[in-house]
Symmetry: C2
Subunit: 203 residues, 2 copies
């Protein structure tokens, strides 16, 4: 995918997906009367029908950007086209063994009142550790094991996640990382990522 | 909350949230032209504005059903009012130390093409283990540690999650569980859940 095509598609799909993210937040927090809710539902169904006028069968289509990195627009954590993704924008250091992201989690990611769902912390840590292990999703790897230790409740709002490769032993890559708010670390994670058998033969 | 009030609110909010879930799927998979996408975005913004005519400040409001179990409608995994929740309906056995859920994950939960995002597996396992540990969210507990071991890729589609309390030692409850498709287990989890200090004094 050329840089121009990437920019064009970002301009088409980015605002659509952001509009759905706003709608998700409004849906959770609305106290509108029943008539208003019915009318909103009709408007939503109209939008859904229009978008379904032409759809692809495959859920995910992975394309590659000019720099060789995959553009995974449907991904549940980083997908530009996936409204359930916050989405995270992952930053990588120059040798791609360390990465981080700063992002905001709103009501859609809640577990206990005011706090991020513990499983959402695990979702984000799993993704960020995987990005570090796979050098920005450029190496084929799958998660073997991930352990998340919860230090304290993670508040909704502005957060940061980061991860770094600790070491590689044969087909296994050991990665650690954490989630933090302005006060410090809220959850820590360790993961073991494994190179699939088919990739060992060629690489 | 009386059973009648619960039914009334379910009838108001359930179809709205389901309509947003359909829209999320359509947003990910659409290949509509730019004009159609612009029109859909306008319809979505109209719905969002209407719903935001009256909203509550708090993200989550926990109320209690007639059976004393919390109704957590904004929850990211089980929330009736949260469009990013699949949502899971959790079944508990009679002594509430074992629970399970059968559910469908569509394109919104994807990681690698055709497969559930590994972090989404962790999200769901964290929730189901927590339900078992807390006897259906009736006991105050927070997650101390959770470990997820990925056996193989979890395909999008129909899935089952289950969890059971293994043992309790002082303030710690040890729980295990797994995620499976029709072919068997795809991911296993173990968790340690901890009773908060304030709850120890009272009970």
């Amino acid at each position: 995918m050329s840089a121009d095509e990437h920019d064009r598609l970002t301009a088409v799909y980015g605002p659509l997906t952001d509009a759905v993210r706003e709608l998700i937040d409004a849906t959770i927090r609305t106290e509108a009367d029943e008539d208003t809710i019915r009318q909103a539902r009709t408007a939503i169904q109209t939008a859904t029908d229009a978008l379904r006028g032409r759809v692809r069968d495959e859920s995910q289509v992975v394309r590659y950007a000019v720099d060789g990195r995959p553009v995974v627009w449907s991904n549940a954590v980083i997908g530009l086209r996936n409204p359930i993704a916050p989405p995270l924008t992952i930053q990588h250091d120059s040798d791609r063994t360390r990465c981080w992201s700063e992002f905001t989690l709103n009501a859609a990611y809640e577990g206990p009142p005011g706090l991020v769902h513990g499983g959402v912390c695990a979702l984000i840590l799993d993704h960020v550790l995987g990005e570090a292990a796979s050098e920005g999703l450029t190496k084929p790897l799958f998660t073997g094991t991930i352990t998340v230790r919860y230090v304290r409740g993670t508040p909704l709002g502005r957060l940061r996640a980061e991860a770094a490769v600790e070491r590689t032993e044969g087909f296994k890559t050991f990665v650690s990382g954490h989630l933090s708010d302005a006060e410090g670390i809220t959850a820590e994670a360790e993961g073991i990522f494994i190179q699939p058998a088919w990739a060992r033969e060629t690489g």
